[in-house]
């Protein structure tokens, strides 16, 4: 199960395990992005977080991001795991690992992955503060989907 390259899981994430999914003799560089639960956002203190996902679709979307990366950077190999359920401060929510023969691509492809996750993967975060809680939507705050769907180039 957790040998999947693209995984949504309730279990704590292990960096080593995810990196090992992409390490290859022909790759000299692996970049990882590790998203952890931050305590303060714009001065407001988070007690803990809760993540929900449309699991089968989220895994499909993660794997589509992997495919997009392979199209843009043909020698890249990508693995992404996202945790759901309750997470405490400094817990790891997401790990993206990308291996490439040369390092510049590994950085670019990795950053591409996190941006795409925030656009197209059906995962939602609920913030729990001292004085309340809220499901957070549209972190990028750049798109409003006036037509009820992402633009063509975002979903194709």
């Amino acid at each position: 199960m957790d040998e999947k390259l693209f995984l949504i899981t309730k279990e704590p994430l292990n960096i080593e395990k995810i990196v090992n999914k992409v390490v290859r003799p022909e790759a000299g560089a692996v970049t990882t992005f590790i998203g952890t639960v931050r305590e303060f956002t714009k001065g407001k203190r988070t007690l803990h977080l809760e993540y929900d996902a449309y699991i089968p679709m989220a895994e499909k979307q993660l794997s589509r991001i992997g495919k997009e990366i392979s199209e843009k950077w043909p020698d890249a190999k990508t693995a992404i795991s996202h945790r759901i359920g309750r997470l405490d401060i400094s817990d790891i929510a997401v790990i993206i690992a990308v291996s490439t023969p040369h390092r510049k691509d590994a950085y670019k492809a990795n950053e591409y992955a996190i941006e795409r996750i925030k656009q197209i993967v059906p995962i939602w975060k609920k913030e729990h503060w001292e004085d309340g809680e809220m499901w957070i939507g549209d972190q990028l705050e750049t798109t409003q989907y006036p037509k009820g769907h992402p633009e063509k180039e975002e979903v194709e």
Partner: protein, 77 residues
Amino acid sequence: MITVLLFAHLQEVVGKEKIILDHAPTTVRELKHQLQTRFGFEKLDQMMFAINEEYAVDEDLIKEHDTIAIIPPVSGG
């Protein structure tokens, strides 16, 4: 019959994980209309919709036994 899946705040507001509709609306647009008029859903223009785990546009057709998901702006990562 179609299934409409709810997530995040929608799930909490409606108090259910899914809604079952006896008759499949013809399109996503028609489904949105029904959700608004029959169930009082608001701000559906800010939601994405998926049919069988793939993003769908208003014009996409809905078939019997399809699974539709209402997808609020995502906040993973």
